[in-house]
Every structure is written in structure tokens, then in C-alpha cells.
């Protein structure tokens, strides 16, 4: 009896030790923590760093938004945004540390210095611009309403049908749904945790329509031609939106460097190849 | 030689005064029985003696040392008092022999083998045979549990044993085995103070019977003297008890 309790205690201590060990060996910031001095040092990129010193940029992303960011089977991030960051880094000889971060707290993480940039299909808007500053836009898209092919109603009829319309919760499509409801349209919003599950809801009939954006829909349909044949785009909503690379307001030097490199990249013939590579061309 | 001495012990709970100045001496080798109706304060008085209940007023000496003194080492003095409770409160997670050993190893600091030897001897003294040693409390009868509890207290080599209504939680058929053990121990010179309702047992075992009522000692004497008690209150109580079946007052 006493022995077994002792084993129980021992088990807990071993568990604790194992937890600590794993925590140490797996720490995602391993590479960064060797330079602990510059971690959390806000404004470290406000002006040009010392000549000859290695610039390390911690790149924050939520690998949840193909084709801009997604994850490979071996765990490395890929996508248009990842390619852009890698090309910029290559141009200047920067070192990039990839750091996945949840979308819900990613802006705070940038503000507080856990990450130095966000390039993860982040839409430039005024609310965000009060806290973080964006580079020049590198991709534009428009919001679209999608229905199943056999649905022949018009955009107005669908938005007033009282039926479910799926969106990704917290996305710009979600904002659009709220704006439409406020304007007096009559439908039910079905908020789901990703574009993929919102698409799924439309396909299996839980929702009659889907609000999404061209940046997601185009490449997705290209990759899934069987789905493309089942869907119809009813119409667009409002003016186009743009993606930008987010930085801290005070990191002026970094932003200037990114803008310079982005401009050069987007004016080169390679830019179109890059877009095509990710199905965005 | 007086081994236990209580002087003017008072205790109140909220607005009920339970003890109103109880004094008592216990000599080495002596057996005293405290009797009295329910609510007389017998159990509270007994628990005051080893400070399980803290008296409001009054002084208590064990073996010449004052346990009520602020400087007293209470845990050490408690080892000199064996206490057997009314409730059958053995340690549930230990075997019969484990219950007896734990005080020896953890309080007295004996080695396991010495404690084991001592525990076996003590269990034999209370007629707990070898086949019961490895049983857990939940596997023992009430009478067996209470005898193990006696052994648990006895093994600590106390200078006095206190019994707080040791048979009142038992089925009537199981009382006798416990009373027999108490009687044997008392006859072998273990100083004992017993609270009980069993009049017949009290007459048999006691050198002196103390009668309590409403927080006070109202009389006492040897069994002989009590039979011819002059004090009206004591005589009335005794007559009442004698009228009850088997001398058991509930």
C-alpha cells in the first residue's frame, strides 16, 4: 500500500522531469533563445543593424491558409507568403526563424516581440493598422458568394432566403456576413473554424451558400476540379482587399527593406511564375 | 503514588457548561470507573485529560508533569496515556498489526522488527490471534476492532489507560470479550480510568466508582460503599440503573 503510493509519487516526479526535458529539447524558440538578448527587444529593427552582424527575423504565421501558408508532411511551412519571405531573406542574407502562431493572438505576439513579421495572408485594414504597420500590398482579392451548381437563385434571393451561409469565424468573410446582416439582409450565419470546413458545410448541405474570397477559392478549385464542377460563384461583394506583410510600427528600417525587395520581386518576371506556382496566376 | 491528577477542570461549549470544576486523583495500579447519565460530561472530562479537548480552566498532571502548562510537550505526555475511544476508530488503511505498530515506529522510533515483536505480544494480550493480525479493520468484528484499539494504546507502554465507553458502539453480544480484556489488564496492575454504563462490570472491576451528573462529581466510593450510599442524588441514580435490564443504562 505504502509502496504503491510511493510509486505513484515517483511516477508524478518522473512525469514532471520528462515534461521538463521534452519542454527543453522541443522548445520551438531554440534557435532564437541562443540570442536571448535581442528577443523581446522592441524596435531592434528601427534602424540599420551594425555592419557585418547577422540579422535574424522571427517569421510568424498561422499555417492555415493555403496557398499562402500551409505545412508540409515534414513540418516545414510552404506557400506564396513563405516563398516571398525566403526570397527577401536571400536577397539580404537574413536568417529566418519560422514560428507558427495562432491567428487569435498573432497580432499581440508581433506587438510584444515574440515574432518580428507576419506574412500569412493578412489583410490590410484600418483596425489592424492602428497597432501594426503593413508593407506595400502584394496580393489583392475580392469576396465572393458561392452556391451549389443546381441552385439557380440570384445573389439577392440567396442573401434574403433565411437559410444558412457558411463563413470562417473571425475572417474577413465573417466581417462581411455581419455587415450584410446589419444592412438588413435575412440569412443565418454559420461560423466554422476554417475555410475548408466552411466549404465542407456548403457541399454537404448544412449551408446553402458560402462567403469566401478569391484568394482561397481560386487555388482551391484548381486543386480540386471535382469540386469545381459542383459549385457556382453567384457574385462578388464590395471592393477588393489586399494582403501585406505586417511589422511593428517602430521597425522602419525593416519595413523599408521589405518594401524595396517586394517592389523588385513584383516587377520581375519571376513574380508571375511564383503566382502560377501557387495557383494564383 | 498519584500518576494522574486533575484539579478543578472546567469546560464550556458555546452556552452549555459541560464541566463545572471536576477534580480527580488516580493512584498507580488503581482502577476507577466513572459513571453517570448521558450528558454528564464524562467523555469530555476524559478527553480533557490528554488535551484532546482543551479545558477552559483547571490543571492536569501526568506522572508529576503538568500537561496543561503552556510549556508542556503535549505529544510526549500523550504517549503516557493510553486512550480507547467509544467509536471504533482504527486506521482504515492499516492491518491490525499495522495499527499497533505505527505508534511504535513513527512515534517511539522503534525499529520495524522490534515494533513487530512488541505488536505481536500486545495483540496476544488482548486475545487477538495470529490469523487476524493481517486483517484490515473492515474485515474485523466490532469486538475485535475494539481489542485491537486497546492493543494500539497499550503497546505504547502508557502509565494509565483511559477507556471512553469502550462497549457502547458494540452489539451486546460482543461487549463481554472487550470487558474481559479490560478486566484482565486492570487485574494485572494497569492503572485504568473507565467510563462505562455497565453497572455490573463497574462493580466487578472498580476499586472506586465516581458518579458524575451535570458536569460535577456528585459522589463516589468503593462498590460496597455505593450500595449503601447515603447521598440522595447518588442513591436515586443507582436505583434507577439497578432497575434497568442487565444494568445497562442507555
Amino acid at each position: 500500500m505504502g509502496k504503491i503510493l510511493a510509486f505513484l509519487l515517483l511516477g508524478i516526479i518522473v512525469g514532471l522531469a520528462a515534461g521538463y526535458l521534452v519542454a527543453n529539447t522541443l522548445a520551438p524558440t531554440k534557435e532564437v533563445s541562443t540570442q536571448e538578448n535581442c528577443l523581446y527587444q522592441l524596435g531592434k529593427f528601427s534602424s540599420a543593424p551594425k555592419e557585418g552582424s547577422q540579422v535574424v527575423i522571427v517569421y510568424g504565421f498561422d499555417a492555415n491558409y493555403p496557398p499562402f501558408t500551409k505545412i508540409e508532411p515534414n513540418g516545414t511551412p510552404v506557400g506564396l507568403d513563405v516563398d516571398i519571405i525566403n526570397l527577401i531573406a536571400k536577397k539580404y542574407g537574413w536568417k529566418i526563424v519560422y514560428k507558427p502562431w495562432d491567428w487569435s493572438t498573432i497580432v499581440t505576439a508581433l506587438e510584444r516581440g515574440d515574432i518580428d513579421i507576419i506574412a500569412s495572408g493578412m489583410t490590410i485594414n484600418s483596425a489592424r493598422s492602428q497597432k501594426i504597420w503593413f508593407s506595400i500590398p502584394y496580393y489583392s482579392y475580392v469576396h465572393q458568394v458561392v452556391v451549389r451548381k443546381n441552385d439557380t437563385r440570384t445573389l439577392d434571393q440567396i442573401l434574403n432566403s433565411g437559410e444558412y451561409i457558411a463563413v470562417q469565424s473571425g475572417s474577413t468573410a465573417d466581417e462581411w456576413a455581419d455587415r450584410l446582416l446589419k444592412a438588413g439582409y435575412k440569412f443565418e450565419k454559420l461560423g466554422l473554424d476554417s475555410y475548408v470546413s466552411a466549404m465542407e458545410a456548403l457541399l454537404d448541405g448544412r449551408a446553402s451558400a458560402l462567403i469566401t474570397d478569391s484568394a482561397f477559392l481560386g487555388p482551391y478549385l484548381k486543386k480540386n476540379p471535382d469540386i469545381e464542377s459542383k459549385l457556382r460563384v453567384v457574385g462578388n461583394l464590395g471592393a477588393p482587399y489586399s494582403y501585406g506583410i505586417a511589422t511593428r510600427p517602430q521597425d522602419k528600417w525593416l519595413r523599408d527593406k521589405i518594401n524595396e525587395a517586394l517592389e523588385e520581386l513584383m516587377n520581375s518576371p519571376y513574380w508571375n511564375e511564383l503566382l502560377k506556382k501557387w495557383g494564383l496566376g | 503514588m498519584i500518576v494522574l491528577r486533575a484539579e478543578d477542570v472546567w469546560k464550556r461549549y458555546d452556552d452549555t457548561i459541560v464541566l463545572r470544576g471536576v477534580s480527580l486523583n488516580l493512584k498507580k495500579g488503581e482502577t476507577k470507573v466513572i459513571m453517570g447519565p448521558s450528558g454528564a460530561g464524562k467523555t469530555t472530562f476524559l478527553k480533557c485529560l490528554n488535551l484532546l479537548v482543551k479545558p477552559d480552566k483547571g490543571r492536569i498532571w501526568i506522572d508529576g508533569e503538568e500537561i496543561t502548562s503552556p510549556k508542556a510537550d503535549i505529544t510526549r505526555l500523550r504517549q503516557k496515556i493510553g486512550f480507547v475511544f467509544q467509536e471504533l476508530n482504527l486506521f482504515h488503511h492499516l492491518t491490525a498489526i499495522g495499527n499497533v505498530m505505527i505508534g511504535l515506529t513513527k512515534v517511539k522510533g522503534m525499529s520495524k522488527s522490534d515494533a513487530l515483536k512488541k505488536a505481536k505480544e500486545t495483540l496476544k494480550r488482548v486475545h487477538i490471534e495470529e490469523e487476524l493480525w493481517r486483517k484490515y479493520p473492515a474485515q474485523l468484528s466490532g469486538g475485535q476492532k475494539q481489542r485491537v484499539a486497546i492493543a494500539r494504546a497499550l503497546a505504547m507502554d502508557p502509565i494509565v489507560m483511559l477507556y471512553d465507553e469502550p462497549t457502547s458502539a458494540l452489539d451486546p453480544g460482543l461487549s463481554s470479550e472487550v470487558l474481559l480484556v479490560i478486566k484482565e489488564l486492570s487485574e494485572r496492575g494497569i492503572t485504568s480510568l473507565i467510563v462505562t454504563h455497565e453497572l455490573g462490570f463497574a462493580y466487578e472491576v472498580a476499586d472506586e466508582i465516581v458518579v458524575m451528573n451535570r458536569g460535577r462529581i456528585i459522589g463516589g466510593g468503593s462498590p460496597e460503599e455505593l450500595r449503601n450510599a447515603k447521598n440522595d442524588e447518588v442513591r436515586n441514580l443507582l436505583n434507577k440503573w439497578n432497575g434497568l435490564k442487565d444494568g445497562v443504562l442507555v
Partner: protein
């Protein structure tokens, strides 16, 4: 079929998340135990003033959502004390402190269920408070705690998924990534469900085993 194949490729990536989840859960449970048990003992045997202070701790950690706690400790509290802990260590500590609050209630209840008569009996043979807690109360209380404790394991296992808010790559985070990368909504989550089921089942299974092994002969559960 090609979808399924593409999912297979991701299995090692998801399985690696088990290590992260395990470190969150085991670390959190361990720290929770180290905090919770002394807390319960202090609440049960300590004075009233101490009890009030400790109650405040328990209420704070039980009443605040985990996501808020994580952000608060990661960005405000730890840095203000001069600690710059990485997200995984912060998550483990926060899970541990929170679980400590819950575990203290588990242990407090089971300490309470050890009847007072045994405590009196332990005092009567001359045990100090420390000894009677160690040798009489805890061996019984810990055993009584096991079922509630394995429940806490299952709870913390599921809570650990919230730590992704700080960028911790536990199982569900990875599954969410795989779901978007493969375009499959159901199957990756089903796989995660199986992983969680196996973890829950094996963890509570071990606790059940210990509970049975420490059974006190003759004692009826719940009755004593």
C-alpha cells in the same frame, strides 16, 4: 484515395505532437500535484487567514479562462518578474498552476472524508500534526483521490489544446494545419480523436490499475 495517401504522409508530423501534448499534460499534472497537495493540506489544517489567501488563489485560477491566463502570464506577469519563458514552459506552468487549484479541491475533499475519529486516535498515541497527516491522513486521502485525479488528467489533456494560442505545436494544432494542407475536414480530426482516446484511455487505465492495487481489503467503496 489520393487524399488518404496525402494524409498518411502527415502521420509522423501529427504523431510528433503527442510529445508536445504529453509534456504539457505530464508537466501540468506534476506541477499541479506539487502545488495542489500542500494547498489542500494548508486549507484543511491551516488557520483561517491562510485559508482565505489560498482560497483567493483557487478562485483566481478556477474562475479565469485558460486562454486569458496564458496571455496574462506570458505577456504580463512573468515578464514583469523578469522571467522570459518560452511559450511551452509558460504553458506548462500555467496549466500546472491552474491544475493545482483544481487538484487542491480534489485533495481537500478526500482529506475531509478521512473521518475525524482517526485523527483523534492518532493524536492520542502522541502523533504530531505533521506525522498524522503523513502517516494517517494522506495514505487514505490520496487513494480516495485517484478517481477524481484521473478525471483531472482527462480534463487537462483536452485543455492542453488551448496552448496553441502561444504557438505550442500540440496535437490539435498540427491536425488543423494538416486539415488545411490536405483539404480534408473530417479524417485528420478523426485521427486526432483516436490519439486523444488512446491517451485518455491509457492514462485513466493506469490510474484505475493503481486504484485497484491500493484497494483496502474489506472496505466498501464510498461507505468506509
Amino acid at each position: 484515395m489520393t487524399y488518404i495517401y496525402s494524409l498518411f504522409q502527415y502521420i509522423p508530423f501529427i504523431a510528433e505532437g503527442v510529445l508536445w501534448t504529453a509534456s504539457l499534460v505530464l508537466g501540468g499534472l506534476g506541477i499541479g500535484f506539487i502545488i495542489g497537495l500542500p494547498l489542500a493540506i494548508a486549507q484543511s489544517f491551516g488557520g483561517k487567514k491562510l485559508g482565505k489567501v489560498l482560497n483567493a488563489y483557487v478562485w483566481f485560477f478556477r474562475g479565469t479562462p485558460l486562454l486569458v491566463l496564458l496571455s496574462l502570464f506570458y505577456w504580463a506577469i512573468f515578464p514583469s518578474f523578469g522571467f522570459k519563458l518560452d511559450p511551452l514552459k509558460t504553458s506548462i506552468l500555467v496549466l500546472g498552476m491552474r491544475s493545482g487549484a483544481y487538484q487542491s479541491q480534489i485533495f481537500k475533499d478526500s482529506i475531509k472524508s478521512v473521518d475525524y475519529g482517526q485523527i483523534l486516535a492518532a493524536k492520542a498515541i502522541g502523533m504530531t500534526q505533521r506525522k498524522l497527516i503523513l502517516y494517517i491522513v494522506l495514505p487514505q486521502a490520496l487513494r480516495i483521490s485517484i478517481p477524481a485525479w484521473s478525471n483531472e488528467y482527462a480534463v487537462i489533456l483536452k485543455d492542453s489544446a488551448i496552448c496553441f494560442a502561444l504557438g505550442v505545436m500540440e496535437i490539435l494544432t498540427r491536425v488543423r494545419y494538416v486539415s488545411t494542407a490536405t483539404g480534408l475536414a473530417l479524417i485528420p480530426y478523426l485521427f486526432a480523436g483516436i490519439l486523444f482516446f488512446v491517451l485518455t484511455f491509457s492514462g485513466t487505465g493506469i490510474m484505475d490499475f493503481i486504484h485497484k492495487r491500493t484497494r483496502i481489503p474489506g472496505m466498501v467503496e464510498g461507505l468506509r
